[in-house]
Symmetry: C2
Subunit: 300 residues, 2 copies
């Protein structure tokens, strides 16, 4: 199996008083390694990479590799400026990363040619395989299937992380098949958007790039293992069981604030662990998160 | 007149081989001071602040003040993380800035409370007046009139930079009046989006925060001075004369790539002066920019 298949868990990078809480981060990574996820992706969107300095990110990459035991670690290298992306890539390589995750972050909107050239530059300069990270909710950049294809042809591209799949199973399969037809065989497709994990794997995705797995690896591992055994109904049932969690993600503006509240509730991260200006959930919202965690028996 | 009124010119921060071209930047600032603009705003969106490191930004702020003669210099301090915003604010203050420009940059979407608290923190910690920078095209954050009002009540808020006005003059006046009704009297309103400069001033805005003025100050100064004398028809006529330039802004995805091509064409910036991954205009597009500059006699 490609290392870019199966379950990749995205841990938070918890802060305490605006400083990375290295002990909490190391604890999250050790928890993931023990849960037998297929890979750990540090410094993704959930890892708040966009908010951290190059020095903080280099340190977090090193900690991730040190505490991941033998689990492969992928490191997010996204930044607004290409030269900073290259700096993060070099630091990740020095840290011992097994792969790189790269989204086209934007302040000024980017063209397809801008984005293609960035991937071309990074793959030419780094020896590590690269995951193309399509996250329009944070980057506001829209990949076309044609651009997936152009980028996936670059030597060094290992995987494409797509933002969910259509709700209807036939449409989901057709969507994944359409992407598959544009990219080389060795490039895997990974679904993200945790509510779509089971559906994405059933639709033919090779990997699930998962936020929830970064804090609650067990249910995500159950969904992934069932899917890998072809037990898609069991995977869908487990995903349906977690619907109250997916609903909180949708209601509270995405997964980050909710998963941070989960980690804080379970004592895996210090309180208010997100970088300001992101204040995180308020007390009433945190209470609802805690209720869902208890009702779904996710605290174990 | 408030220093946050009249014409504020936004210079580029030109790069050469990924390093700030300090001589070109100083030249742009000197050109603006000589053109008698009312203020210079360094490190705005046009100044590519989002792409520069804290060290680069501190240096650019110092250069701007050193080369601006007696023209007040405002400095952009926007960043994704509040602690980095505070660092930029402290560096701008040390550089001798007369004010700060702050947009709610996003990677994760922000709530209104997140954004309010950021302005509260910055105004509490900095002695400098702050311009609230509403630029949804780059930040993807939508201010409401109510949020303008809450933020404008904070001590230290001096101005709100709004993203254009409605096309129809009565609607434009009503829009500016609606904002005016929510904010204290001493807080100015400045229009941006250069195609809206004349219309915004006619609709009651106090200031024009202008991209074009950062490279081509003379026509922007003519529009502003006519407006300040009540000669709104003359201002509108000069703005209409520049319509081919506004059309290039619209066609080529905003003002930045076009104004960079203008500065390069006029020898005010080195070629390919924008930070990668922004490749800037292609040769055919640059040819069209050059034609418009010549036809409008803007090269002087």
């Amino acid at each position: 199996m490609s290392p870019f298949a199966g379950l990749s868990a995205f841990p938070l990078t918890p802060l305490h008083d605006d400083v990375v809480d290295e002990r909490a981060f190391a604890g999250l990574v050790e928890r993931l390694a023990a849960a037998d996820v297929d890979s750990i992706t540090a410094l993704g969107s959930t890892g708040c990479a966009a908010y951290l300095s190059p020095i903080e990110r280099a340190r977090v990459a090193r900690l991730a590799v040190e505490h991941a035991d033998r689990t492969p670690v992928f490191v997010g290298i996204s930044a607004l400026r290409t030269s900073e992306v290259l700096l993060h890539a070099a630091n990740a390589e020095r840290a011992g990363a097994a792969g790189l995750l790269l989204a086209p972050m934007t302040y000024q909107p980017l063209t397809s040619d801008d984005v293609f050239e960035m991937y071309q530059t990074v793959t030419a300069r780094s020896g590590l395989p690269v995951i193309v990270y399509d996250n329009p909710g944070t980057t506001h950049f829209a990949f076309s299937p044609e651009l997936y294809g152009r980028i996936a042809e670059l030597p060094g591209i290992a995987s494409i992380k797509i933002p969910g799949v259509p709700r209807e199973p036939d449409a989901a399969r057709a969507h994944v098949a359409e992407i598959r037809a544009t990219i080389p065989d060795h490039v895997t497709i990974g679904v993200s958007g945790d509510a779509f994990g089971a559906a994405g794997l059933a639709a033919g995705c090779d990997a699930w790039y998962s936020v929830v797995a970064g804090t609650l690896p067990s249910p995500a591992a159950r969904i992934t293992r069932s899917s890998q055994e072809g037990a898609f109904d069991a995977a869908a049932a487990e995903s349906a069981r977690l619907a109250p969690l997916w609903e909180l993600f949708a209601e509270f503006g995405g997964s980050l604030r909710v998963i941070a509240a989960v980690a804080e509730h379970l004592g895996l991260a210090p309180s208010r662990c997100l970088p300001l200006p992101i204040r995180g959930l308020d007390d009433e919202q945190r209470g609802r998160v805690a209720t869902v965690i208890e009702e779904l028996s996710l605290g174990g």
